[in-house]
């Protein structure tokens, strides 16, 4: 299924395992092997940051377009120091891409059907429509106080 | 939302297919081949097979009409469809109050 990041279509060979298999998988890994976990979007970000600090990737399953838990989960993971890749898997739409990136999500995986309707150019354009919002390190609040 | 699943239970017959046009929001009814603003010109489904055909049209018209749905209509004396419920009567003829410059 199509995988997008801020630059465009991408690939990622990180192997996804269940959370309780992560440690075993990582113990036996060869050079270049990357392991990640798949979690539901009601996962507890704080606990997850504690349990999976060694994961190279956390893939968050998003059941519906309007399910915004993924944004808070990703933001919490980043705040608690998770430095690996965060992926949202599910029917996000291009208009949510900028929010996803701002919350620390690196990749979005969508269905072929959706990608056919909403090809890459729509995603990249949508990510740049709003130059800057108020919050965040490059936000308007930060800009004003720097001025 | 009035999404329609195949073989879902139909509202009471007879019925018409209606919705709001995507571009301008106007109330429209399916007249058998196209969409019209006039309820009395709508196709009245009096049997299940016709109703199911209208249901298919609802599904196919999502690019033109928003949330098309089947709704029970009355059959007027002239045989043409008329509203069976006060909500549909207001949809068909507009607000029941004066408004704007006429208020």
């Amino acid at each position: 299924m199509p995988l997008l990041d801020a630059k465009g279509l991408t690939t990622d060979t990180t192997e996804l395992v269940a959370l309780d298999e992560l440690e075993t998988a990582r113990d036996g890994r060869g050079p270049g092997d990357r392991f990640g976990v798949t979690v539901p979007c009601d996962a507890d970000g704080e606990e997850l940051a504690r349990q999976a600090p060694g994961a190279e990737l956390i893939a968050i399953e998003v059941p519906k377009t309007g399910d915004g838990r993924v944004f808070s989960l990703a933001a919490t993971l980043r705040e608690r120091g998770f430095g690996g890749t965060i992926r949202a898997v599910g029917p996000l739409i291009p208009d949510q891409f900028a929010f996803a990136l701002s919350c620390g999500i690196d990749q979005v995986e969508i269905s072929e059907e959706q990608f056919a309707r909403q090809p890459l150019d729509q995603w990249l354009a949508a990510a740049e429509t709003i130059t800057r919002t108020y919050v965040g390190p490059d936000g308007i609040f930060a800009r004003r106080s720097a001025a | 939302m009035r999404g329609m699943e195949k073989s879902s239970k139909l509202p009471k017959l007879p019925l018409v297919l209606t919705g709001n046009r995507l571009r301008d929001g106007d109330v429209v009814y399916f007249d058998g081949s196209d969409w019209t603003g006039d309820l009395s010109g709508a196709a009245l489904a009096e049997d299940e097979a016709t109703a199911r055909r209208l249901e298919t049209i609802a599904g196919d018209s999502a690019g033109v009409v928003v949330d098309a749905y089947l709704v029970t209509a009355a059959k007027g004396e002239d045989g043409r469809p008329a509203p069976a419920h006060y909500r549909e009567a207001i949809r068909a003829s507009g607000p029941t109050i004066d408004f704007g410059e006429t208020a």
């Binding site: 909403q118 108020y134 | 949330d67 410059e101």
Partner: protein, 559 residues
């Protein structure tokens, strides 16, 4: 008033172009209706019974003359020559076409307005006391705080897709005119024992099908901590609010299910762990924003005004108007003038383009160019000299805006109801109009005194019927409109929800029933100064119950 800087301007302009693109992608099939709907809602655009409805934000209810004139222009060019002031201090157009909306948003942006987050499952337009900066009982003008929250919540990446809509209200006064305890978050500006100004934070209030009064989660929050604390509340809600049932998705249900103590503990825990980056922002921004809300230069003048007193004596209509529609101003010799958008027998809150222009002109000439929209669906000229009231009154008479009924029984709040709204189960406006006609006589209204009637056309309670002294809820029963009457609601400091008087009645029985309730009140009250709620508290619901019974026989005639 707040004025956009280059950043505010840019975000609003970009938002217009973003929506233009979204409309195009909906029309060309890139977006399905299910995908597009939340996007249009977040730009205030609903599909109602007859057309698209656009809800324009009037942040904390404050707007200037240029903005009002632009609203008039849009009403004429794209709607049917009028607009509707709402209970959340916004303005709605009822007859728009989807394809016109991007241009309309562009016209709004030209005067520093927008429709951002006036609907959808996000943080909605922040409301505030409509007498902000005017009222004598104010600790501080709530609008800088409200503006700070507006900015923070605009396109906040984490909170655009909440479980459900989220409403915040702020008041800085002792009397709560913003109904903060029936909001998802209510903020009261308070002073602590050390004399510092900060916030009391209430969470989990709301009307709708499960009305609840908000619980205090922090008695005193230092003001620089506001944004971070809101962040913690919103994050707890976004993670744990229910998403399985839209009727249980508001934060009030989460607070109720967890219990206020546990909810507060979770918020405080989240707050403790949060990366606190809002504190510096709040300090600098509040100071920057507050400058814009500096009071206009008003000179103290004689009070009472001789000129007004003489004019009142000479003109009974002005006398009535001045008695009911003037609100005390903290600067001597001035008043906040309530312009009733509730003429008898017309849709409550509707104003024509022509009326909007009159309002704009009057504001410019007499009120430092400023107006307020109230949650009572009226307009306030906040800074008027008492001496100017007679001249203003004359202009209002010509414009049909001089109804002397502020806070009286015909100053009815009503949602649009089934005449417009796709969610409604019954009509509201004709009910309001019929009741107004019954009580049209100004002398009779004055005799009754302050009494609020609030009407909702469905259980979602946009007409705030739960907090009306008399509340009316329109439902459907066996294919007919049916109205339930509640008594005893009060949105103020001692927030109280009304209780049902009895079984629902037909539409044409409502005015008679209300009249019987009012007559009972007049009979039972201990004097003209005893308000309806006091009488009700003393005598209970029982004496009012026959009001419903008596009207049953006449009910059958309704269509």
């Amino acid at each position: 008033m707040y004025r956009y800087d280059e950043f505010d301007e840019q975000i609003v302009r970009e938002r217009v172009e973003q929506f233009r693109g979204q409309v195009e992608r909906r029309l060309d099939g890139s977006l399905t209706e299910d995908e597009f709907k939340p996007l249009r809602l977040m730009n205030g655009l609903y599909l109602q019974l007859h057309a698209y409805m656009l809800r324009v934000a009037v942040p904390y209810g404050t707007l200037n003359s240029a903005q009002m004139r632009q609203l008039a222009l849009i009403a004429e060019r794209y709607d049917r020559g009028y607009g509707h002031f709402t209970t959340r201090q916004n303005l709605q157009y009822n007859w728009l076409k989807l394809v016109d909306v991007p241009d309309i948003l562009g016209l709004l942006a030209d005067v520093g307005m927008h429709a951002i987050q006036t609907s959808g499952n996000c943080i909605r337009n922040v409301t505030a006391d409509h007498f902000a900066g005017v009222a004598a009982d104010e600790i501080e003008d709530p609008r800088p705080t409200a503006e700070l929250i507006r900015q923070w919540s605009t396109l906040h990446p984490e909170f655009e897709y909440l479980p459900r809509k989220f409403k915040i209200a702020v008041t800085g006064a002792e009397e709560d005119r913003a109904a903060v305890s029936v909001h998802d978050i209510g903020i009261r500006i308070v002073r602590n024992e050390a004399g510092e100004v900060g916030y009391r934070i209430l969470v989990g209030g709301g009307l709708g099908r499960t009305p609840m009064v908000g619980k205090t989660v922090r008695d005193f929050l230092p003001r620089v901590e506001l944004l971070d604390y809101l962040q913690a509340i919103l994050r707890v809600y976004n993670r744990h609010g229910r998403r399985d049932n839209k009727y249980k998705a508001r934060i009030k249900i989460l607070v109720h299910e967890l219990g206020a103590a546990e909810f507060t503990a979770q918020v405080e825990e989240e707050y403790r762990q949060l990366e606190r980056d809002g504190i510096a922002v709040a300090e600098a921004e509040l100071a920057r924003i507050a400058q814009y809300f500096a009071p206009p230069p008003l000179d103290e003048r004689a009070e009472p005004s001789d000129l007004l007193a003489k004019a009142r004596e000479a003109d009974p209509a002005l006398e009535l108007f001045a008695r009911h529609n003037l609100v005390p101003h903290k600067v001597r010799g001035h008043t906040a003038l309530v312009l009733s958008v509730k003429p008898i027998g017309k849709p409550p809150g509707d104003a024509t383009a022509e009326q909007m222009r009159v309002l704009a002109d009057l504001a410019e000439q007499y009120s430092h160019g400023e107006m307020r929209i109230t949650h009572m669906q009226n307009v306030v000229l906040p800074h008027v000299r008492l001496d100017d009231v007679p001249a203003i009154h004359e202009r209002l008479l010509e414009a049909g805006l001089a109804e002397p009924n502020a806070a009286l029984i015909t100053d009815i709040i009503a949602c649009p109801g089934m005449d417009y709204c796709a969610l409604a189960t019954a009509r509201s406006i004709p009910i309001a109009e019929d009741i107004q006609r019954v009580f049209a006589d100004p002398a009779r209204q004055a005799e009754i005194g302050k009494l609020s009637i609030k009407i909702s056309g469905c259980i979602n309670a946009c007409g705030h019927h739960h907090v009306g002294n008399i509340g009316i809820l329109g439902l459907e029963r066996m294919g007919r409109e049916n109205y339930q009457i509640t008594l005893g609601g009060d949105p103020g400091n001692a927030t109280t929800l009304g209780e049902r008087l009895g079984p629902g009645i037909d539409a044409d029985a409502v005015p008679g029933a209300i009249e019987a309730i009012v007559d009972t009140y007049l009979e039972l009250r201990e004097g003209p100064e005893e308000q309806f709620l006091t009488t009700l508290a003393r005598v209970g619901h029982d004496p009012f119950k026959p009001a419903l019974e008596a009207k049953k026989e006449t009910a059958d005639a309704s269509a």
